[in-house]
């Protein structure tokens, strides 16, 4: 059976060689063509992570930080509206950290995330200090993305 699976894996690799270095847009497009709605997948991942946290909570165990990171990173954008200012800023920080590391890893970033941060700026829901922090992070991200593109 190992041989069968090893052969299948080699064949899969060969058939999918053009799937390497996919940006999020291309990835979502391919997922749609294989019958998966990317938004549904994101929601299912979010719900699955929340279910784990809920199970832990019920057992009186704290959810680890990394689990909360996944829950935060996959949260529907509408959840910003019901977050406290502090939680929203923390969430934005996480988004920018994720974007910066994605850019450093050569993975294209989501324009959706950028739009969310701007939305909060427009609504003046963040302090001057946090606004400066976001500006700094955005500038850093853009700089890294530009460097990556040129390189």
């Amino acid at each position: 059976m190992e041989q069968l699976l090893a052969e299948a894996a080699a064949l899969a690799e060969r058939l999918g060689e053009s799937n390497t270095d996919l940006g999020p847009g291309e990835l979502d497009e391919l997922l749609k063509e294989s019958g998966h709605d990317p938004n549904v997948l994101r929601r299912q991942l979010h719900e699955g992570a929340k279910a784990i946290a809920a199970r832990l909570g019920k057992a009186g165990k704290p959810a680890p930080q990394y689990l909360m990171q996944v829950i935060g990173a996959t949260a529907p954008l509408g959840e910003f509206a019901v977050m406290s200012k502090k939680a929203a800023v923390e969430r934005l920080r996480e988004l920018f950290r994720g974007m910066a590391s994605a850019a450093a890893a050569g993975i294209a970033t989501s324009s959706e995330m950028m739009a969310v941060s701007r939305a909060h700026r427009k609504k003046s829901q963040i302090s001057d200090h946090d606004a400066q922090l976001l500006d700094k992070l955005e500038a850093e991200l853009r700089s890294r993305a530009t460097t990556k593109k040129k390189g």
Binding site: M1, A8, A9, G16, S34, P64, Y66, V70, S101
Partner: protein, 218 residues
């Protein structure tokens, strides 16, 4: 031990790539053993990938744990690790279902099974052994023919796939080599590869829909 830090990992991206990878694995299994192998598994590529990721982020699941030997916690690193986990899970699943899953040896030329029950069948276990035996090459060629027949209306993709499946073509031919063999330009090869990829994902979708319908034979 320090707690895992996933702040630099795009878990959603990992899940999506893992699903595409599982799709290709399932498709390759169909290419080798026929679509009948999938209903017996009772799980599709998406479910398998989702389970893998959720086990990874579940602190109470001690079977999928990031260890120091895996290196830095990056998106690519986590993806690489979870691919290996998914392979192990699929292997376990195949072993578990090997006796109750049957493979049709001479399916109808259009890829469908005949309904009169005249096909020769063998268990997945025996089929896997047969692949390693003297008839292995013949069996593979028959299986590949089944996949190629589904591309009958797109000869340019069928020809490219035939070259990709060719066991004498390992290691994989370069685009330049493929262009020379097919008598087309390198950019046409690249374009055909993208189309073929999309076409195969479509076939994979059909196959995985079969796999989630359940049932033990095929």
């Amino acid at each position: 031990m320090a707690e895992l830090d996933l702040s630099g990992v795009d878990v959603e991206y990992v899940l999506k790539k893992l699903i595409l990878h599982a799709n290709r694995l399932f498709l390759a299994l169909v290419g080798l053993a026929g679509s009948g192998v999938l209903p017996g598994l009772g799980v599709g590529p998406k479910d398998l990938a989702m389970q893998t990721v959720l086990r990874f982020i579940d602190p109470e699941d001690r079977t999928v744990v990031w260890k120091k030997k895996h290196g830095a916690v990056t998106t690519e690193g986590v993806l690489r690790y979870l691919r290996a986990v998914l392979h192990h899970d699929l292997l376990d699943l195949l072993r578990l279902k090997a006796h109750e899953t049957t493979v049709v040896l001479d399916p109808h030329p259009d890829g469908q099974e005949q309904e009169d029950g005249t096909q020769r069948r063998m268990s997945l276990d025996d089929f896997a052994s047969a692949l390693e035996g003297p008839d292995g090459r013949v069996i593979r060629e028959e299986r590949h023919a089944q996949l190629l027949v589904r591309m009958a209306n797109e000869p340019e993709l069928r020809d490219l796939l035939a070259l990709q499946l060719d066991p004498d073509g390992y290691p994989a031919r370069t685009n330049q080599e493929l262009a020379q063999i097919l008598g087309i330009s390198v950019s046409e090869v690249e374009n055909h590869k993208k189309r073929l990829n999309r076409r195969l994902l479509g076939i994979s979708r059909e196959a995985s829909e079969d796999s989630t319908k359940g049932g033990g034979c095929g």
